[in-house]
């Protein structure tokens, strides 16, 4: 360059390739050095059309708002009204998504229970079974029924307030799981009937049923074992939401849990997380359409998860037809995950606060996604529970604020008609008009 300047030739600014960006190049170098794909936790990090691309219009002359500090806006939701003797009644339409003991520490699971209790909502177990701590600290606990069946037993099944048959997960539709050996403590190993220190694979398919006809019989079996007492959820990934929701309803689900690609996982291949599945926003309307086509909207409840962060996201998911939402990653952040207070330690791990996603390695400075006793001791479950409660309350207040502004006295009265989209993509996915128009792609055949 100096030579060019010397000769009076103008220099060009160094230009990074959009195709071979620094991120991409680092992936290539890492693959070349290790010979193995990258495994990480969390959900899709790429930007996809999401709830930020929608806006509520609020009320004006043609719509009548409710007074924010005086008029009631109900947030209660009941899940499992179709067949269960004891549906789950929640004070707020925000639940805690399934996360395993193993992936999370015992105190972190306890904090989720404490926070959810205080906010009047439910928590969910994960792959690895139910611990006495989480049952004890969660007044409403959903027990996941996963392909691995780690820790599955009829006693815990009967202790559950609901059963969630996990068919898919938004971060990895069609994929199983992996808990690497370094996170397998004696207790985790015992709960999963496997030796300590080995990688514990979770299969992608259930071992004793395939297809919707079998699922119907599996649901019958679980209902018989639990005497038709508790609701049975079916959790699907955002893959083919119309057909999967239809089949879950046909199989007898009380509740469909729909998890989009922003939904987190404890550990999966990065390529899987970023390239398989659909954005949460794209999944809701097809699922609601399936419920409506089957005459089951509101009779079979829809819980949406994957990238829910705020009361605005809650309100938008409900306006699109969901009955409730579930949060996972956001709940961990509320507990203290990826907090800048641990920045120096994140740096030592080669990352930074906000970007830490090697949850599977068990070295979480915040002491949440680990089984290391020293790291776990950094986390206070009582304080964590208080923080989660606060966060859930704020989300609820935010969602109520929006609902009142739209003139709704119940969160479930929000509707697609209350919203517009900022982008063509969001308009198409949410089937609400592009802002400033009365049209969305697909409407009227265009």
């Amino acid at each position: 360059m100096k030579d060019q300047e010397h000769r009076g030739i103008p220099t060009t600014t160094p230009r990074q390739s959009a195709t071979f960006s620094q991120d991409v190049n680092s992936d290539i170098r890492r693959a070349a050095a290790t010979g193995i794909y990258d495994i990480r936790g969390g959900g899709a990090k790429r930007r996809v059309p999401n709830f930020d691309d929608l806006l509520f219009m609020g009320a004006s002359i043609s719509r009548y708002p409710l007074e924010g500090y005086r008029e009631k806006c109900e947030t209660k939701v009941t899940l499992g009204t179709r067949f269960a003797k004891n549906p789950i009644e929640l004070d707020i339409p925000i639940t805690i998504a399934g996360m395993s003991f193993g992936a999370l520490s015992g105190p972190a699971k306890e904090a989720l229970g404490r926070g959810a209790n205080a906010a009047g909502t439910s928590t969910t177990t994960g792959d690895g079974g139910m611990t006495p701590e989480e049952r004890g600290h969660s007044s409403k606990l959903v027990y996941q029924y996963l392909p691995s069946r780690y820790g599955m037993n009829p006693d815990d099944l009967r202790k559950a307030d609901a059963i969630e048959i996990v068919v898919g997960q938004g971060a990895k539709p069609g994929g199983g799981g992996m808990l690497l050996g370094q996170k397998i403590s004696d207790r985790v190993a015992e709960m999963r009937n496997l030796p300590k220190g080995i990688d514990q694979r979770s299969s992608c398919r259930h071992p004793d049923w395939t297809g919707p006809d079998d699922l119907e019989i599996k649901i019958l079996e679980l209902r018989e074992i639990t005497n038709w007492r508790v609701p049975i959820y079916v959790k699907i990934a955002g893959a083919r939401p119309y057909f999967d929701t239809t089949l879950a309803i046909k199989a007898g689900a009380d509740v469909v849990v729909l998890d989009g690609m922003q939904g987190g996982t404890a550990a999966t291949q990065d390529v899987f997380i970023e390239h398989v599945g659909q954005p949460t926003l794209a999944c809701i309307r097809p699922a609601v359409q399936a419920l409506q086509d089957m005459g089951m909207h509101r009779e079979v409840q829809l819980v949406v998860s994957g990238g829910i962060r705020s009361g605005a996201d809650v309100a938008k998911a409900l306006a699109l037809g969901a009955d409730a939402v579930a949060i996972g990653t956001a709940a961990l952040i509320a507990l203290g995950d990826n907090d800048p207070r641990w920045e120096a330690e994140y740096n030592k791990l080669g990352t930074t606060a906000g970007a830490y996603d090697d949850w599977h390695e068990g070295r979480d400075p915040a002491g949440i996604t680990t089984q290391d006793p020293e790291l776990m001791a950094r986390f206070d479950p009582i304080e964590g529970g208080r923080r989660l409660k606060n966060y859930l309350k704020v989300m609820t207040l935010e969602a109520q604020t929006i609902a009142r502004a739209c003139g709704k006295n119940h969160m479930h009265n929000l509707e697609p008609e209350d919203m517009v989209a900022l982008t063509m993509e969001a308009a198409a996915m949410a089937q609400v008009p592009l802002a400033g128009t009365n049209w969305y792609p697909g409407k009227g055949g265009f």
Binding site: M152, N153, P154, G181, P195, R201, P207, I225, W228
Partner: protein
């Protein structure tokens, strides 16, 4: 002996009655007639009772069983004894796929043949099959014992962990990371006990033991072709 006509009373009434039996119940003998291949018969039992099912059963007979002894006087559909914790299930005829899937304990005896994926993901259960078993049996089997007096199909014990697999006949092929193992005295003792409890006429010395080579326990890129 309590007799329940399943066709007349329905599945819900049947399981409700069986679930109502306490550990010290006097009604220890139950007979179910007109099973007619119904699903979810006698699931979730948790009492030391003996249930005899007259006829063949559909899916998941005896699922998640604890303590009870269940005799099926016929053949069993998919998932018989799935996730059972304890007790005994004896099937006089054949069993369809996934027999004893994910079972944590107890004894499952199939006097005929068992189809594919017998003992898939087993977690401590003992399974004795008097006849043959189908392909992919003991896939990801974690612990417990699978005893087969006849032959085994393709990919036996694929990706298995610490389960012990004993086969008297031929094995069509072994799955990934499954290998033939030495039969030590303690294995002869285990087999002797299981064969006796399962009413099987065979000598432990006639069997070959298979189990995990433990090469896939921790991911290694050099083993990627094994998956």
């Amino acid at each position: 002996m309590q007799t329940i006509d399943l066709e007349a009373n329905g599945l819900r009434a049947l399981n409700e009655q069986l679930h109502a039996q306490a550990a010290d119940t006097n009604q220890t003998a139950w007979e179910i007639v007109n099973a007619r291949g119904s699903h979810a018969i006698a699931v979730g039992l948790d009492a030391p009772i003996e249930v005899t099912v007259k006829g063949s059963t559909g899916y998941y007979c005896g699922g998640m069983n604890k303590q009870a002894t269940i005799n099926v006087h016929g053949s069993a559909g998919p998932g018989v004894g799935e996730n059972m914790m304890s007790g005994t299930i004896v099937v006089d005829g054949d069993a369809s796929q996934y027999a004893g899937a994910t079972g944590h304990g107890g004894l499952l005896v199939i006097k005929g043949n068992a189809s594919s994926r017998c003992g898939i993901s087993m977690k401590g259960i003992d399974i004795v099959v008097h006849g043959n078993i189908g392909h992919m049996s003991a896939f990801m089997a974690q612990s417990g014992n699978l005893v087969v007096l006849g032959d085994a199909g393709d990919a036996l014990g694929d990706s298995c962990y610490e389960a012990r697999l004993f086969v008297r006949g031929k094995v069509k092929s072994l799955g990934a990371d499954c290998e033939e193992k030495e039969m030590r005295p303690e294995h002869i003792e285990i087999l002797k006990d299981l064969l006796e409890r399962a009413g099987a006429d065979a000598k432990p010395e006639e069997f070959t033991r298979y189990g995990s080579a433990r090469n896939l326990y921790n991911f290694d890129v050099d083993n990627a072709s094994a998956y």
